[in-house]
């Protein structure tokens, strides 16, 4: 039994299995009573909603900012030299900031679009949508190891086991789809932080992510096992439903029975709709080409991106994509340049295709697209040609969903090491994202362990970055 003594109306609805339904949650906001120590929703004046969905393109491993979106010509000038003593010391995982040598980028940067945003040549197609991007160059934190940095980027602290952005969003807004979960994850390999990285932490299980797989069973246990055929399962479900309804009529007071009936109905519908949602065979050829599905190198991530668009169209609120899981991904401790080129090849066309497609369908204004990793990389070298982790100044860009496209916000120092102008903490990013979704980050709270917990941390000084909003 859930032991909170006061259910908000939303919770009652959710508990009776209708949570993933076509209810307009937005008009429930502000009408719920937030009792002391109870779960609550964003209460009081809420920001206007600009985005209703989020597609997060997470570059696992940490992309190098000076090789992607933050050109630093000074690196060429001072190639091979160590940082001056006045630079101070920075904790790094594998290298020593006082003795590491500056390593220039081998990439060339172009000023792209009308706005002139610089993009490196690992992205050949992205320049065509440069005017949609709001590039934040001054992101920073202090976690230089993968797991804590991953947890920080997703859940706001470096601790394991706390709810991720997708779960918070789901908690605040629910799903708009009757048949699909509100928070979906697609990966190409396991993450260093484990599945806990994108989990629901202490938020109720209904806010857990649903992992969609692109081969085999789309959702774990969605497909029947070999020995059960379709009719067989249908019989099982029908009989079980009969038993449930018998049960219900003998115990009309038991709300959990209806909830379970609904859960099965939804699961049944998901068995049909999830494969349908992920069935891209009927997409026009030009769309498939636009996402790069016609080439081996871009097909994996392109498939993820195309599916993301389809899911958003079908009412899924938060789609979290990962590129670079398993293997080294963006974690280029060696062969930084060639691996970034490889990664660029894999994601460039799909991402561009996604943004262009969303725009063409009129979805870009209401869909927030986020690109970034758990940290950036050092402008100094590791070994002869690698870069170490660097959380002290890295780039995240966002597009659509109320962002002001064609802008650059913040900057790093001359070498691209530390965030300098307008530094942006992870919690500021989170506050801004929630804001665009119509959620007040200070009021979206959940009682756990003696505190009204928030994504942006109770003691935080998080701010919404209004300067980059349209």
């Amino acid at each position: 039994m859930n032991l909170n003594t006061c259910y908000s109306r939303r919770e009652l609805l959710r508990r009776s299995g209708m949570g993933i339904g076509a209810l307009a949650f937005l008009d429930l906001l502000g009408k719920e009573v937030q009792g002391k120590g109870q779960q609550g929703l964003a209460q009081g004046p809420n920001p206007p909603t600009r985005a209703r969905a989020v597609i997060s393109l997470f570059m696992h491993g940490g992309p190098s900012q000076v090789d992607t979106f933050d050109p630093k010509p000074s690196l060429k000038q001072f190639e091979g030299q160590t940082l001056p003593a006045s630079f101070g010391n920075l904790n790094l995982e594998f290298t020593n900031s006082s003795s590491a040598k500056l390593l220039p980028s081998r990439r060339t940067f172009q000023k792209c679009g009308d706005s002139g945003i610089e993009i490196s040549d690992i992205f050949q197609h992205l320049p065509t949508v440069a005017d949609e991007l709001a590039v934040i160059r001054s992101c920073h934190h202090t976690e230089f190891n993968h797991s804590p940095a991953l947890y920080l980027a997703h859940s706001g602290t470096r601790l394991m086991g706390r709810p991720s952005l997708g779960s918070w969003m789901n908690y605040g807004l629910g799903s708009e789809s009757e048949n699909l979960p509100g928070y979906v994850v697609m990966r190409d390999g396991p993450l260093k932080g484990g599945p806990v990285t994108y989990g629901n932490g202490f938020l109720p299980a209904v806010h857990q992510p649903t992992e969609l797989r692109l081969d085999g069973s789309p959702i774990l246990y969605l497909n029947r096992p070999a020995e059960i055929d379709k009719e067989s399962q249908r019989r099982v479900l029908q009989f079980s439903d009969q038993l449930n309804r018998q049960n219900l009529s003998s115990h009309p007071d038991d709300a959990s029975i209806s909830a379970r009936i609904s859960a099965y109905e939804l699961a049944f519908r998901m068995q049909a709709t999830a494969p349908e949602a992920l069935d891209i065979r009927n997409e026009p050829e030009y769309i498939k080409r636009q996402y790069g599905l016609d080439q081996d190198v871009t097909r994996p991530f392109g498939t993820q991106c195309l599916n993301a668009r389809r899911l958003v169209e079908r009412g899924v609120r938060f789609v979290q994509l990962y590129h670079g899981g398993g293997g080294d991904g963006w974690d280029t401790h060696g062969s930084n340049d060639s691996k970034h080129q490889r990664n660029g090849l894999q994601v460039d066309k799909p991402i561009t295709g996604l943004i262009a497609d969303l725009k063409a369908r009129g979805l870009l204004d209401s869909t927030l697209v986020i690109w970034g990793g758990e940290f950036g990389r050092t402008p100094t070298s590791e070994g002869s040609d690698g870069r170490d982790h660097s959380p002290y100044g890295y780039t995240v860009w966002m597009a659509g969903g109320g962002m002001k496209g064609g802008t650059i916000y913040g900057s790093t120092d001359e070498f691209g090491f530390r965030a300098q102008e307008n530094p942006v903490q992870v919690r500021d990013l989170h506050a801004t994202i929630l804001y665009l979704l119509g959620l007040n980050h200070e009021r979206l709270t959940y009682y756990f362990q003696g505190l009204q917990q928030r994504l942006t941390q109770v003691d935080g000084d998080s701010r919404v970055i209004h300067e980059i909003l349209a």
Partner: protein, 991 residues
Amino acid sequence: MKLIHTALMATPWLLWLLCFKSPSQLTPVAEEPDYSAVVTVDRPVAFYQFEQHDQSELCLARNSAAPKNSDLDGVCSPGVVTVKGLSGPGGEMARFNGSGLIELPPANAFHLDELTVEFWFRSEQEFDQKFWPGSATLVSKATAGPGSGDWVILGGSLTTGSNEGRILVGVGPKGDQDRVLASGTGLNDGQFHHVVWTRSGTGLNTLYVDGQACATEQDSKGSIINARPIQIGGEKFEPGGSQFRGDLGELAIYPHALTADRVQSHFLIGSVDPRLPPASNVQVDFSRDIQPIFQEHCSRCHGNGKEKGGLSLSTRSRALDGGDTGPAMIPGLSSRSQLVSLVAAIDEDRIMPPDGEKLEDSQIGLIRAWIDQGANWPAEAEEIDPKTVRALEHWSFKPIRRPEIPQTLQPDWNQTPVDPFIFAKLAANDLKPSPPANKLALLRRLTFDLTGLPPQPEEILEFANDNRPDAFSRVVDRLLASTALGERLGRYWLDVVRYADSGGYETDIYYEQAWRYRDYVIRSFNEGKPFDRFLMEQVAGDELWPAEANAMQDAVAVWTLGEWQNALDAFPEELEYTRRTDQVITYSESMLGLTAGCANCHNHKFDPISQRDYFGLEAIFAASETWDRSTNQKAWLKGQRTAYRIFRHSEIPTPIHLLTRGEIKKPRGLVSPALPAFLAGEEAGFSAPMANSQRRAMLANWTVSPRNPMTARVIANRLWQWHFGQAIASTPNDLGTQGQPPTHPELLDWLASELMESGWNLKHLQRLMVLSATYQQSAERTPEAISRDPQNQFLSSFPRKRLQAEAVWDQLHAAAGVLDRKSSGPPFVPKLTPEELQGMYDLEDRKDKKWPVTPEQNRRAIYILNRRSFRFPFLEAFDPANNSTSCPVRQSTTVPAQALTLLNNDKVVELARAMAERLSRATRTHRERIQLAWLLAYSRVPSEQEIQLTQDFLNQALAAQTNKGTPDPHLAALTELCLALMNSAEFLQTN
């Protein structure tokens, strides 16, 4: 009313005030006290203020404690010059360039076993060696060899090669080994620091830096007298003695040990900031002179119930407690009171008030005078402090008193003393109890509640046919004696202590012996170990019962079960800190039901738990450490996948400091081990000296003491929750002011006192609960009851419960007849498909090593390998515990993932088939089959209608399977039936 610990803090300052000022001088002071005077008052045998030679730059070391007598004057070698010193002590200091030293005469006056050496210094030299050779000599009276009767004060490090910048004191009493005291780090930062080493007549050594004790060490009391001279800045006799580069001055040597508050005074007076406006020359009246200032300039943020930065200026004790950055004032010492330096804008980044008018010098002067005069604050001028009031009135902080059992109008409803309490509340809320539950529903409920398993068909039939009046009570006895009991209760306790078999994060190190703790827990519940003993064994079994050390190892291992952020291995101090934090939080939440963890970074905003209380608890755990027996170290070795973690006493307990905002780099004073002051009262501070190996024993004894109002309530509350599905106070880890109040406070107190009086006998309490009429009620709810009491707080019927994740697994296996009841031993690892393993990350990409499938596949779920960095899909679907921290209550949700798991998980289908085979084997007719199926799935017999429906279904299924050409269509049809039963709501429920 004053809280005890603030009284303890305030007292030394008043004592100082009285000691320092002779009666005729108890008038307002307008000048700063003089440093030399304060040194002289303490009667040093020698005091060197290092002056410049008249005709050269050279340094003179004249003993100003005896200016006319040059017996104790020192000799400075060339190369030692003087420089201007601090603004406080004024005067000059000796500057050492690495090649000179000062030598004092080897006079009898310096042959001291009981002494204090005090000086100020500043340096930027690398202090990176552990003793000689290499570390910088500050002051020494050294001889060769350990235990040779000598002492040294050096600038060095505890890790050779690492520039830690510590002060190291070495004391080598004759016949003893050399003892080391080490300060904190970073003292070679070019700032002035005050260093004092005292040795008492009983061989107790204390090192103070900047007025705060940072290390103590008890030596054997042997003599430390030797014939060598005291040398300063260099050491020319000892091989390896090396030179100091920096400034040193105001060296004083006393023939006795200065007390802590004298040391503090010396420091504070020596570091007065001249920018402070002078204290006023008037007799201050708080209400007339000070309170108006507070009200006008401060109360917007620090009064009227507001506590920005944790500081309230509503009462004297709150002001002394201070806020996130420490006490606001030190009575008698305005020059070092934080409040004064903030309003005087000494630090331009921290000015109070932050906006609005700054205080004028005259106002600051009044505040200084008020503080210097003792910060008198009449009681009638104190504002109401909501926090103190709340604490005094809070239910769980009051002693447990056994209440009267209420009289009720329906006494024959009562079966055990639990019932009148429930009935009284029902009546008060216009509710009635429900009739007794159906016999078989009751049996299912009870069996799951006590064992986590369904009743076996024979047990069901036996109970159904047992019409003796004590039939139910016999079942209770049987179940309480079953070994499955420990597996059910043990799982609840494992939730509460955040049990897992691995460390989480990227490396997810396998805790290869963690299962021993799990076995210990299960065993303890099975054998009915008194709960106080159970807690004591975990907190301090190794200290309290050293003869049973091996067995006790399993119990204290609970403190090693927290997460392991191996990324912190590069910062051992921080890693240890996170471990201690985990231990204090786990202890306080699991056993005391308090959120002491909130006080890690600031005084608790709501409960009377201060940062000092929190760190006092850390200091208790700081005498022990988590040790890896497989690698014989604490740190992680590259490539290490498993660890055999034990909890044992450290050689040297880590000194614990109060940390501003909980930041390890911001220590602000040594904290002794202590119990939470507001709860422990006079027992709060441990009487010194206390052996380091007894700190946890003190904590254990206090935890279960009859004077502790929390512990018995916490476990009584949990036990109720574990049987009734909802706790009496619904936030079981927080019985503090922010937790939910109990729905039945008298019942809870009665249960708590009954528990204690029964010798903390859990099974006794369990009997009182399950044999009660309340427990045996039906689960049906009437519409009136639902509308009057939607959450069923008052228990007008028994709450229906969905089975927890482990019980779902166990019931599936039990129904299939394949449940392996093997208990104890290392965890087992179920097979998983590549799909199910997809999300698992392994540092070496060796999923087979991280998830090494075992031959055993069908044990109870409590024995499944529990890896923090992997979510076992089956259990994950049914709301398992989040084991990052203590989990007092699991959620119970209904989500589609559960449906999909039960429909399509290969294992479930396999079990459905096994159940079908069992049905085939055990019965002959369809009817029998259906009856057995119902007994296995629902613990009851089917109605005629149900039999008919099922018959129809089976026929349908059989026909379809036959048509399809399935080899064994009967079995296939039965499998469908079993799968349908497993997927029905009733399967997952107890009513």
